[in-house]
Amino acid sequence: MRYSITDILIDSGLDDSPFAKRAVDNVRRLLPKATISTAHDTGHLKQDQFSKHVLYLLAYPGQFLKPCPGTTEHICCGYQILNVGTGCPMDCSYCILQSYFNQPGLRVFANIESGLKEVLKRIDSKPNRIFRVGTGEFTDSLALDPIVGWAELLIPYFSSRKNAVLELKTKTDHIHGALSCNTRERIIMSWSLNSPMIASREEHGAVSLRRRLEAAKSCQAEGFAIGFHFDPLIYYPGWKEDYLRTLDLMDKVLEPERIIWISLGSFRFMPSLKRIIRKRHPNSIVTNGEFVPGKDGKMRYFKPIRVELYSFMREHLEKWSPDLGLYLCMEAPDVWETSMGWNPVNSEGLSAFLDERVRKIFG
């Protein structure tokens, strides 16, 4: 993918950190025209909230590991978010980050190594619990990897733990860093997928579905466990044929082996996001569906539409393989029951299901 980064800004005090030095070296190699400056020297930067031109390297003052906020009244997967940064160099029209962060630029937390100590201490203190950890909630896990080297930094720490897995979720093919690591243990390389139409029309800056699947194939061949996330599923004229094309492509490119899970989630958003999408992406179709307010204040497709989306995807994915660890992201028990044929009852039930998938794949 092509970056539009023109300025790198490093928080004063972090200039000498190994993380920042490595990032600066990579920027000089990959983006020779980018300006590198310290944080107290920001006068020349003119940017809006959604700017993709500035990469900030700064210290994160809070806790690095937090449970996924999920959403009330729905079944959540019990994921833990490792907060390595916020913002994304891609510009998907439906991205919830557009309404999450009121801070401009791409922000990468350069004190991650010191933060990791605390994170690992917490993980080690609960040996009987499985920590499913991911970095892809507030940023893409690998979009900035060629610059910041997250994969090479994080993989060794998680590979050596028996009660944790690390999922690197992306819409890119930046797998070089992960492949260059010596270990594949407890690491899940995963991709967000969609229909070809949505991928090309709405996921600006992301690589094509074929390239994502080719990257998954390479990781699979190299011994990584892989995962997929059809999220957000979008309902539009011709959606069934389009999503089948993605499933056909998966079938052509991949073997349904060592796939730890595939999640399904339909488009949902806080009401304020609709205006932002219309303004920033006037040709987007993602807000056109029949959305109704949910119990958590988010807009969701009218329930029967969600059931239709999930049932269709489930039916066709299960034809490919019956053992894909299919699950729904942030859904209600009756939607689970009707579309998936079973119901984890609550978030603990879904966590137990996913923990079992971890045991099955990694032992």
Binding site: D48, Q49, N102, Y235, Y236, P237, G238, W239, R275, R278, K279, N283, I285, T287, N288, G289, E290, V292, P293, G294, K295, R300, F302, K303, P304, I305, V307, A332, P333, D334, V335, T338
Partner: protein, 345 residues
Amino acid sequence: MEMPKIYLPLGTLKKISVADVLSDSNSRQYLMSFGFDLDELKTSIATVGIINPPILRQNEGGKIEIVTGYRRLRAASELHIEQVTSRVFLHNELAPDQALLVALYENLSIRTFNIIEKALVLRNLSRFYGKEEIIRTYMPLLGLPKRDEVYRQYLEMEKTLSEPIKEALANGKIQMKTAEILLEVDDNSREIISHFGSALNLNINQWHQFVDLTVDLMNIENRPASEVLEEIDINLLKPASTISNLPQQANAVLNFLKSKRHPRATAFQKQIRKKLGKMKLPEGARIVFPYYAEEPEYRLEVSFKDGPSLRERLLKIANDPMLHSIRLPLIEAISVGQTGEIPGK
């Protein structure tokens, strides 16, 4: 950043012709008032006169500009007062940017600005100051967040919205978020939506629903407002319509738009209402269904005087032959409106 300091001299007290000042189109350039009511001010002036003289500036061409006191002069005019004593400054005594700040601080000291007035202030400030300075220094004074997009939005609103919409905003008849949606559409569509909504005499929430639904349908159907709303004209607003009063007409219009925007949810609501309507519920009992089928259950509400009366009512409900046909809300919702796919661009 340090705020600019202006030490205003006394100026010259002069009797000024009210008609002359108000008739000059240049006189309003420091105006920060919009959508005001002069009645109270007129009563005050009629009783005790103008206590605080307007501040005027004579520009390089000799024309008089109103720095402060536009409303006082308008009120005086309506009271047929021909001349008003004012503090007049020559152009070299009060520069235009200083005059603007005098106007701003005088207004700030006596009242709060409405949304359109804040937009007017920002536009006026933009004549003299850069965006960064306005955002950093003046937006907090107006109670606005120091954000670039807020600044842009206010300027766009001031420049783009029609007078009736500005008035509705200033008077609190429509919300800022409704105006934001109107900014998304082309001038002609905005005019048609505004005209249509005004004719229906919508309340603040109805206004928002009306604009939101109309703009949604414009986007989904890729049609201008004229075409989206034309269907309403035909179906609901023709002279032969049986709907005789505006509130009913407003509801009918909103229901029509909702049924177009949410066809499956509307069909579900219609069907479940029909089904529940067939039950012979005892007096004081009603069944509430989940409007969008998001909740997995219905709710039964029964009022009763005592145990036996509750028992009697519950038994009547339990023996209703329609009970067996009421399924889970989600199953009911799935069973209706499977008409295929939503329209798209």
